[in-house]
């Protein structure tokens, strides 16, 4: 159901549900809700995760396999595209539900597995291989002896509020979302609450912006609501583009209606008549699902003139940006929406007073807005019961790097970082040890392993001088080279800087060049190279501080964070790079030297054949030799040698 057309029966049903005081008391409605939630299914139903991470897997083949099985067995099967459960490393995930029984989730699944799985489940047997767990909804009969999904080690420590329905519902079905109680908070609000009362609820909940700084949301809201202007806007920043950060995309692709409801509530509370969701055109799944959600909400009558007969009018638009990291900064985002070049401007005036087209504008990211329906629906006391005194509620993190289980986790504030890494993430694979955690991508800081017990909390982080960032968490083990990573991060900034202010534009360029010198090939050093390198490295810290002090926007101000914390934390490794010209982790290509172990080499000749630089000499059944000055350190020989005869140093 992607089009805006919707049959009148369904529309009136949904409206009735939305406006009913307590649908649970009405038996007829209760039955209806069960059907909407797909607790009760008539046909066998297969739920396939089709979010962006699955795009590299042959989902089409799985679909074909399901259809093929259905044809062969004669059992009708309904296939539903869902969002992601959050466990990306188990992709592709499918859920299978037969009438009357609980849903079971499997992942990773291949198309060849489908026949076996479907056959077994229809014989009332649940295979244990690749099983994630069973999801039991209230009226279903559970499978005996089969672990529950919420007891899976990835989920057991999570507190899933905004991610509650992710991977479970069809993101393109407003009916299912309403069946789960969605849009009721909005319907209730516009009929029975004034904006002041709602603002009070938000204030009591202690909601803070999830974009890193943890600015109390209500202060922004009050400023926008009380600013003078004939029109107000709400902007939802869905242009998430931190390297390593993907939680907003997963949330949007799994439950776009929740984000939409948050936008609607925020618009109602501050009195905005127009809201814009800003995403980028490259995020195809996000764009499609958001657009579908907007169309459906409009079809139900949740967007448009006189919403549900309350007299409130709201229009929501989806805008697609061309894709620039800096457009996540609110003033740059506004400039981009106005049709200008996406460059930030100086604040004050803040967007709350002069934002889009000079009108008061509220800008929040996806995660913050997704919290709002939960607060209104369940009340601020419920919301405060999770998390800590200063930081209430939950926070999304996306795990990546050297970790067993990758994915989006939602934890209550106050959870130590270690719990996320070791419990939900399953720790470091291959018996390696953890080196550090980079929180917040290219503008974040390195968290040393001894500080892993630091609880996730805005004030605690600030006190310890750490940045939470927007929630990307990159875990690094001892095979990672921090210098190379820092170079990578500053390289990202130098490419994504808008080019407006000097410290960010030229500072990042110079720092990158200095780090480039540090990791340059020793054999290619020219006359002053060593001197330049020493001089440069003594100036990086100064440059980084100037960038922090004087950059125009948050991008430049936080860009040196990985450098400043990295220089402190990995001083010895950096010095090795500078003075000894070696890379301990053998990651920096120019600092690696390869040699042949004459004992292990049996003269198979494969390295000689594969070397792209012809830097290896040798003949069949004779010990080979690597010519240093020809070797570029690409590591091809190391990869192809089957006898561990290539040594790296």
């Amino acid at each position: 159901m992607t089009s805006a057309r919707m049959d009148d029966q369904l529309r009136s049903d949904l409206r009735e549900l939305l406006l009913h005081d307590n649908p649970a008391t009405d038996p007829a409605l209760r039955q209806r809700i069960r059907t909407l939630r797909r607790e009760r299914v008539i046909k066998t139903t297969v739920f396939i995760d089709t979010t962006t991470p699955t795009s590299i897997y042959p989902i089409g083949k799985i679909r074909e396999a399901v259809a093929g099985w259905s044809e062969a067995s004669g059992i009708a099967v309904e296939v539903i595209d869902t969002g992601s459960l959050g466990l990306i490393s188990a992709t592709p995930v499918i859920g299978i539900q037969i009438p009357g029984r609980a849903r079971v989730y499997y992942g990773p699944v291949e198309s060849a597995d489908i026949d076996g799985l479907m056959n077994a489940i229809h014989k009332q047997v649940v295979p244990e291989e690749n099983l994630l767990g069973q999801l039991v909804l209230s009226s279903q009969q559970s499978w005996e002896g089969i672990p529950f999904l919420e007891k899976h080690p990835f989920f057991v420590n999570q507190v899933r509020h905004v991610m509650k329905l992710s991977g479970i519902i069809d993101p393109c079905s407003v009916a299912e979302f309403v069946g789960w109680g969605g849009y009721r908070a909005f319907a209730k609000s516009i009929h029975f609450y004034t904006d002041k009362e709602l603002l009070g609820l938000i204030e009591k909940s202690g909601l803070r912006g999830r974009s890193g700084s943890g600015f109390p949301a209500v202060r922004k809201w009050i400023a926008t609501a009380s600013a003078v202007g004939d029109k107000r806007y709400v902007l939802c920043n869905a242009d998430e583009s931190d390297p390593g950060g993907y939680m907003h995309r997963i949330l949007i692709e799994s439950n776009p209606h929740l984000v939409l409801e948050g936008v609607m509530l925020a618009s109602y509370i501050i009195g905005a008549s127009q809201a814009i969701i800003y995403t980028r055109s490259r995020y195809r799944v996000s764009v499609a699902r958001l657009q579908c959600a907007i169309n459906q909400a409009r079809a139900v009558g949740l967007i448009g003139q006189d919403i549900l007969g309350s007299g409130y009018t709201l229009d929501i638009q989806l805008r697609r940006g061309p894709g620039a990291f800096v457009c996540g900064e609110e003033t740059a985002l506004i400039a981009s929406l106005e049709g200008k070049r996406g460059m930030p401007r100086t604040k004050p005036p803040y967007p709350a007073t002069q934002g889009l087209f000079g009108k008061p504008t509220l800008v929040h990211n996806v995660e913050t807005l997704a919290q709002v329906p939960l607060i209104i629906e369940n009340g601020p006391e419920w919301y405060r019961s999770t998390g800590t005194e200063g930081s209430s509620g939950t926070k999304l993190f996306s795990l990546s790097g050297k970790i067993r289980r990758l994915g989006v986790v939602e934890v209550a504030f106050g959870t130590p970082v270690r719990d996320i890494v070791e419990k939900a993430g399953g720790g470091i694979p291959d018996g390696r040890t953890i080196k550090t955690v980079l929180l917040g991508g290219p503008s974040g800081k390195f968290l040393p392993p001894e500080k892993l017990d630091l609880p996730i909390e805005f004030d605690r982080f600030r006190k310890e001088n750490f940045d939470m960032g927007s929630g990307s968490m990159v875990i690094l083990d001892d095979t990672c080279c921090p210098v190379s990573l820092m170079k990578n991060m500053i390289d990202f900034i130098h490419q994504e800087s808008c080019g407006k202010c000097i410290p960010c534009r030229d500072g990042s360029l110079r720092i990158r060049e200095i780090l480039e010198m540090v990791t340059s090939k020793p054999a290619e050093d020219k006359s002053h190279a060593a001197l330049d390198r020493f001089k440069g490295i003594t100036r990086v810290a100064e440059l980084a501080h100037v960038m922090q002090d004087t950059s125009l926007c948050g991008l430049g101000k936080t860009a040196p964070n990985p450098l400043i914390s990295g220089f402190e934390l990995f001083r010895t490794e950096l010095e090795e790079h500078v003075f000894e010209r070696t890379c301990r982790a053998a990651v920096c290509q120019n600092l690696r030297t390869f040699s042949v172990d004459p004992v292990a080499c049996n003269g198979c000749n494969i390295c000689y054949l594969k070397c792209p630089e012809s830097a290896i000499i040798g003949a069949a059944r004779q010990v080979h030799y690597i010519v240093d000055h020809l070797c570029t350190g690409c590591g091809k020989c190391f990869e192809v040698c089957k006898f561990n005869a290539i040594l790296v140093s």
Binding site: R345, K500, I502, R510
Partner: protein, 565 residues
């Protein structure tokens, strides 16, 4: 409302909401700036003006941070100075640095800043890439490797001229100021006004230099070199020589030019008056034809080009008579070649002006058809200064001579063309001379004077009420058009000049000029006008010798004059 802020331990007064930089300036505290442009919204791009404020982690830009009560500010703490210097060093590390070969050597704001912040060492020396120069335009030349990306030209081009020929391209350290599709200025919507040159802090924007061709042409014995001097140049040239602004240099300039090798030196005032006479005739004719909508003067080449590129619907409303400079060039070429038995091509006319667009005008198809109407070389104020210096003229040691009189009389209103509103005033004078009954009160005429961007006045002519307006700045023109359309206001004649204030602030004028200087220049124009107050405006311009204008010579359909790209 006045508030108090603490700066470097002293308490100073500031207006609430005023930017810190302005508050500091009024109190005599100097904070260096680079991207700041007076009269524009602050952009906060360069971060040179950062100051330290108590209670804030980072440094704040003085240019774009409003003063709040009891702020405690330190403008020159070691942290601030270090930050400023580092920023400038970063900027210089990307700058090409060939100061000695730069047009702006010694007038460069970047040089000044470097000496002010005591930059001593090339600490960040790295890949300085020379970028390709944009020499496609006949008027404005861009050298991106000297550009410091302050964005002033971008702001002026968009906010003052509404042309937006220049904008930022690419991002990160590859950012550049460039034109549409990075194709060069002649391909873009540029109208050659040269306002970007006036605001550029470094030598990234210059007018296309004609100094070398000028020297060659002057020293070629076959040439009969003639100079036509624009009145707007006469009053601003003194500033280049270090004299007070607005001092008239006419006679000294004439002496210097003759010494350099010009055979004759004329003032373009005569041509301007001739043009105004034609303008009035054209205006009356179009009035009789009951032309709908406002009519526009075609004096300003930038404005004509703007209409050709952006508002072709308005071209029929242009009173398309030849501008004074062309009339004079044609006249001189014809007259002098006859007098000296030379071919017309032997008369080499130099037009000395404050206008960069006059250079661009040489590249129109009309020049191919009517070459005698176009000067051979156009030199701007800055180039004239260079030329005089190059020939070793010590301007204060020269005996003042006067420039050639054309036909025995001087003209009065021709000088007014240098200023916005001037050619309208001149037109009204001629109208009065032609219609002896027409009386316009002096206070009504005075409304066309002054430094406002839009000046309007109305009077009665043959029982009709005639409304005229003088506009300077193309963005003002656009907003005026919008307003007059929405208010259904009837205006008969509109004079538009692309440069704010008119030619006295033309793109060829000396750089780095304050608003005060412009007012002085404007006053000097009035003084010059006053000087010739005894000369009565004539109802028609008579060429007192046997001279035939060709058919359609003076009336030119501008729409037919395309620009050579």
């Amino acid at each position: 409302m006045n508030i108090e802020i603490e700066v470097n331990g002293q308490i100073i007064k500031a207006r609430k909401g005023e930017m810190l930089l302005d508050a500091l300036k009024t109190n005599g505290i100097h904070v260096p700036t680079l991207c700041h442009l007076e009269g524009f919204k602050p952009s906060g791009a360069c971060r040179i003006c950062v100051v330290e404020a108590e209670g804030r982690q980072d440094l704040i830009p003085a240019c774009s941070f409003p003063a709040e009560e009891w702020m405690k500010i330190r403008t020159h703490s070691s942290r601030v100075i270090k930050a400023r210097r580092t920023i400038l060093e970063l900027l210089l590390s990307c700058h090409t640095g060939g100061c000695l070969y730069c047009d702006r050597n010694q007038t460069c704001e970047l040089q000044l800043l470097a000496s002010e912040l005591n930059v001593g060492e090339h600490r960040f020396s790295a890949g300085r890439k020379r970028k390709k120069m944009d020499t496609t335009s006949q008027a404005v030349q861009r050298d991106p490797s000297k550009c410091v990306l302050c964005g002033r030209c971008v702001r002026v081009c968009e906010e003052v001229e509404e042309v937006a020929a220049l904008d930022f391209l690419r991002r990160g350290s590859r950012t550049e100021v460039g034109t549409v599709l990075d194709k060069g200025l002649n391909y873009s919507s540029c109208v050659n006004c040269g306002q970007c040159i006036l605001v550029c802090p470094s030598g990234a924007l210059q007018d296309k230099s004609n100094v070398e061709p000028a020297i060659q042409a002057l020293q070629d014995p076959k040439n009969y070199a003639v100079a036509i001097i624009d009145p707007a140049l006469k009053i601003s040239l003194s500033e280049q020589f270090g004299y007070r602004a607005g001092q008239e240099f006419t006679s000294l300039l004439a002496t210097a030019l003759r010494r350099i090798g010009f055979k004759k030196v004329y003032s373009s005032a005569w041509g301007n008056e001739f043009e105004t006479g034609l303008l009035v005739t054209g205006f009356q004719k179009k009035l009789d034809e009951k032309h709908e909508g406002p009519l526009f003067t075609a004096t300003c080449p930038s404005f004509v080009r703007y209409l050709q590129q952006n508002r072709q619907d308005l071209l029929p409303s242009l009173i398309s008579v030849r501008p004074g400079r062309q009339i004079m060039t044609h006249l001189l070429k014809t007259m002098l070649s006859a007098q000296n038995n030379l071919p017309a091509s032997g008369i080499h006319v130099f037009y000395l002006t404050a206008c960069t667009a006059a250079k661009g005008e040489l590249h129109t198809t009309d020049r191919m058809i009517h070459p005698s109407f176009y000067p051979d070389i156009v030199l701007t104020t800055r180039e004239v200064y260079k030329l005089i210096r190059l020939f070793g003229m010590q301007i204060d040691k020269l005996n003042p001579e006067y420039h050639e009189d054309l036909f025995g009389t001087d003209v009065r209103s021709g000088y007014l063309h240098a200023q916005s509103g001037g050619s309208l005033e001149a037109a009204i004078r001629i109208l009065q001379a032609r219609k002896p009954g027409l009386v316009i009160q002096a206070d009504k005429l005075a409304r066309l004077k002054g430094s406002k961007e839009v000046k309007e006045c109305s009077f009665a002519l043959d029982g009709d009420s005639i409304h005229v307006a003088a506009i300077s700045g193309l963005s003002q023109f656009e907003s005026w058009m919008k307003e007059s359309r929405s208010k259904k206001k009837q205006t008969h004649l509109v004079e538009v000049m692309a440069c704010p204030y008119g030619c006295i602030n033309g793109g060829g004028q000396p750089v780095g000029v304050s608003d005060r200087n412009l007012k002085v220049r404007s006053k000097a124009v009035a003084e010059m006008d006053e000087l010739y107050s005894g000369v009565e405006p004539r109802g028609s311009v008579i060429v007192p010798f046997d001279f035939q204008w060709g058919e359609n010579d003076l009336n030119v359909e501008y729409a037919g004059r395309s620009i050579i790209r």
